[in-house]
C-alpha cells in the first residue's frame, strides 16, 4: 500500500486553539464590552438571534464578540448553547396585531390606515462612507444632541399627528378605484380615531374587507411543527416552513428568493403590503393561577406580501398572501421570507422549492457541509488519483504504475504521491 498509519497533529491542533485564544485578545485596543456590541453592532446581534432562533441580546452579543464578527460562527455558538438549556414553557400564542410598531411601511398602499411610519431606517439615507476624523466624533455627537431639542416642539406624551389624517380625505392625483378609496378612507378614519398609533390596522384586514384575498383560513388550529425536535422535510406543514424560514441564513434567503424571481416564467414580483418592526409580548401562563402573564418583550420584523395569482390553475380574480416574521430588525430577511412562504404555498408543499427552503437555507446545514470539506479526504483523493492513472493507462496502452513499485526512478510520481498521503 502507498500509505502507512500515522499519528500526529494533536499538538499542532492544541497549538492552533491556543493561537485562536491569544489572537482574540491580541492588539493594543481594549476588549469590546458587551454593551458596545449590543449598542453599536445591534443589527449583527439581531441577525444572530434570528438565525440561532434564540432571543437573548446578552448571549448573542457574547457570541458575536467571541466569533470575532463571523456571523455563522456566532450563530453556531448560540445554537449549540441553546441545546444545553431546558425548555421551561410554551408561550401563549400571540397575535401579530399586537405588534407595537417602531416602523411601519407599505409598498401596496400609499397612505395605508395608520399611515406610513418611517421610523429608524436607512431606506432614504445616502450611502456615503463616513470619513469623519476620529477626534471630531465627540463634537459631532454634542451637535446631534443639541439639535434634538429643536424638533421636539410637539412631542410630549402621545403625539397627536395621527389624528389629523382624518382630514386628509382629499382627491389623490393617482387614479384610484373609488370603492378602494372609500374603503381605504373609511379604515383611515377608523385608525385616526383610535388612540393606538402604535398598532395600526393591518393591510390584510383591508384586503379581506375588499374581498380580494384567497381565503386561507380553515378554522383549524393544528399544533405547530417543532423543528427543534425533528427535522422538517418536504410534506411538513406550513408551520415548519415558517419556522425554518425564520431561522434561515439571511444571505441564503435573499439569494434564493432572488433566484426564484429570476425565473422567466414569473412575471413581475410580489408587493409587500406591510413591513413592520416592533415589539411583541411574550406571555406564559402563571404556574399558580393559570392566567397569562407578560414576562418579556421581543423585537421582531414582520412582513405581509401580496402577489397576483396568474397561473392557469389559480383563481385569477384573487390575490394571495405570504407572511414572514423573524427576531430582530431584519427587513431583508422578513421580506424574502414572506415571498418564499407564498412561493412554497403556490408550488405545493412537496415541490423542489419546499425542499430547498426546508433544507438548504439553514446556516448550520449549509455551512456545516461546506466546512466538512476541510476534514481529511486523503483516502478519497488517493482513490481519485488511482482512477485517473488507470484511465490514462488504458488510453495509452501502458501498464499503470502501482504504488508499491520500489524502484525510485525520477519521475515516478506515484511513489512521490505515496509519501504525501
Amino acid at each position: 500500500m502507498g500509505y502507512s498509519n500515522a499519528k500526529g497533529g494533536e499538538e499542532a491542533i492544541l497549538a492552533a486553539e491556543q493561537l485562536v485564544r491569544r489572537g482574540r485578545e491580541a492588539g493594543s485596543s481594549p476588549r469590546l464590552t458587551l454593551d458596545q456590541v449590543t449598542e453599536r453592532l445591534r443589527l449583527a446581534v439581531d441577525r444572530v438571534m434570528g438565525e440561532a432562533s434564540l432571543w437573548s441580546p446578552g448571549l448573542a452579543s457574547r457570541a458575536v464578540r467571541q466569533a470575532e464578527g463571523d456571523q455563522f460562527e456566532a450563530m453556531q455558538l448560540l445554537r449549540a448553547h441553546r441545546s444545553t438549556l431546558p425548555r421551561l414553557a410554551y408561550s401563549e400564542p400571540v397575535e401579530v396585531a399586537e405588534l407595537r410598531v417602531l416602523r411601519r411601511v407599505s409598498s401596496a398602499f400609499r397612505n395605508p390606515p395608520g399611515s406610513q411610519i418611517l421610523g429608524r431606517t436607512l431606506d432614504y439615507v445616502g450611502r456615503l462612507l463616513d470619513l469623519m476624523p476620529e477626534q471630531d466624533h465627540e463634537r459631532y455627537v454634542a451637535e446631534l444632541e443639541a439639535s434634538v431639542g429643536h424638533s421636539h416642539g410637539h412631542g410630549h406624551g402621545h403625539s397627536h399627528d395621527g389624528h389629523t389624517h382624518g382630514d386628509h380625505e382629499h382627491e389623490h392625483r393617482v387614479p384610484e378605484n373609488s370603492a378602494t378609496r372609500d374603503l381605504v378612507g373609511e379604515l383611515q378614519a377608523v385608525a385616526a380615531e383610535s388612540d393606538d398609533d402604535r398598532n395600526p390596522p393591518r393591510v390584510m384586514d383591508l384586503m379581506r374587507a375588499m374581498d380580494l384575498l384567497v381565503e386561507r383560513r380553515t378554522g383549524e388550529d393544528p399544533e405547530p411543527y417543532d423543528v427543534t425536535r425533528q427535522p422538517a422535510r418536504p410534506g411538513a406543514p406550513r408551520s415548519a416552513v415558517l419556522s425554518m424560514l425564520a431561522r434561515a441564513e439571511t444571505g441564503a434567503l435573499v439569494h434564493f428568493w432572488y433566484k426564484l424571481r429570476f425565473d422567466p416564467r414569473s412575471a413581475g414580483h410580489e408587493i409587500p403590503g406591510e413591513v413592520r418592526h416592533g415589539w411583541l409580548p411574550l406571555r406564559v401562563n402563571h404556574p399558580l393561577t393559570g392566567n397569562p402573564v407578560q414576562v418579556a418583550e421581543v423585537r421582531v420584523t414582520d412582513v405581509e406580501t401580496y402577489d397576483d395569482l396568474d397561473r392557469p390553475d389559480e383563481d385569477r380574480s384573487r390575490i394571495d398572501v405570504g407572511y414572514g416574521l423573524c427576531f430582530g430588525h431584519n427587513e431583508r430577511k422578513a421580506i424574502a421570507m414572506a415571498g418564499l412562504d407564498l412561493a412554497v404555498h403556490r408550488d405545493g408543499n412537496s415541490s423542489e422549492v419546499a425542499q430547498q427552503v426546508l433544507i438548504t437555507l439553514d446556516g448550520v446545514e449549509a455551512n456545516g457541509f461546506l466546512e466538512h470539506l476541510k476534514l481529511p479526504h486523503h483516502v478519497d483523493f488517493r482513490s481519485v488519483i488511482d482512477r485517473k492513472q488507470a484511465i490514462r493507462a488504458l488510453q495509452t496502452g501502458t501498464k499503470p504504475v502501482a504504488a508499491t513499485d520500489a524502484t525510485p526512478t525520477p519521475g515516478n510520481e506515484t511513489q512521490q504521491i505515496g509519501a504525501l498521503v
Partner: protein, 207 residues
C-alpha cells in the same frame, strides 16, 4: 401508606422537584427493571411524598403530557415539574396512587405499529411485591418474553388479577401497548414492559 399531603404546599413542591443527579439515578434503576421485568430495584424515598410521585416527577418536563389521578398531588406535581397536564386518554404518563380500574386502563393511548412510542406509560402505586405471608391481595404473574430468561415470576400486591388480564389484552398488539411501572411505598420498583407476555399463576389448591 398515606397518600394525602401533610406538608405545606410550598414544601411539597420543593420535595417533588428532582435534581438532575437524582432523576438520572432513578432512571437507571427504571431501565434496569424494564430490561428484566421480574427484577425488583429501589429508588431513594423522600419524606412525605409517595415514591410513585417521585419517580414520575424525575421523568416529567414541559414536553411530557401527564395525567395525575390524585387530587392531592395533581397541582404540586405540575407546578414542580412544569409538565403538560392532559386527560388520561391522551397522556404519555399516567400516575395512579390508587389502583387503576380496568375501564381506565382500556381507555389509555396504546399507539400503533407505526408509532409505538405513543403508547402510554403507567406509574402505579402498589402495596408490595409478594410481601404478605398468606399471599393475600397478591397476584403472581408469569412473564415471558425479552428479559425474562424463559419464564420469570413477579408477585404484585394491591392490584387485582383482572387488571393484569386487561393489561395482557391491551398489549396483545405489540409493538402498540402500554408499559407498566410498579412502585411500592418503600421505594421498591418493578416494571412490566409491553414486550412481556403475562399470564397469571393460579394459586395451588389446598395450600
Amino acid at each position: 401508606m398515606t397518600t394525602t399531603r401533610t406538608l405545606t404546599y410550598g414544601e411539597t413542591i420543593r420535595r417533588i422537584g428532582r435534581a438532575p443527579e437524582d432523576s438520572q439515578r432513578d432512571y437507571r434503576r427504571l431501565i434496569d427493571v424494564l430490561g428484566r421485568p421480574s427484577r425488583i430495584a429501589a429508588i431513594d424515598t423522600v419524606d412525605g411524598v409517595p415514591p410513585v410521585i417521585i419517580l414520575a416527577a424525575g421523568l416529567a418536563d414541559v414536553d411530557v403530557t401527564v395525567a395525575v389521578l390524585d387530587e392531592d398531588w395533581e397541582r404540586p406535581f405540575f407546578v414542580a415539574t412544569g409538565a403538560t397536564r392532559t386527560d388520561i386518554t391522551r397522556a404519555q404518563h399516567i400516575i395512579a396512587t390508587q389502583p387503576l380500574t380496568v375501564d381506565q386502563l382500556t381507555s389509555l393511548e396504546r399507539g400503533d405499529a407505526l408509532h409505538p412510542e405513543r403508547g402510554a406509560r403507567v406509574f402505579a402505586a402498589v402495596t408490595g411485591f409478594g410481601d404478605a405471608v398468606d399471599g393475600a391481595d397478591s397476584t403472581t404473574l408469569i412473564l415471558s418474553g425479552p428479559g425474562n430468561d424463559g419464564e420469570a415470576r413477579l408477585s404484585v400486591d394491591g392490584l387485582a388479577p383482572e387488571f393484569f388480564d386487561a393489561l395482557a389484552i391491551a398489549n396483545a398488539d405489540f409493538p402498540a401497548g402500554i408499559d407498566l411501572v410498579l412502585v411500592a411505598p418503600d421505594g421498591r420498583i418493578a416494571a412490566i414492559p409491553r414486550s412481556s407476555r403475562i399470564s397469571i399463576e393460579k394459586p395451588e389448591k389446598g395450600a
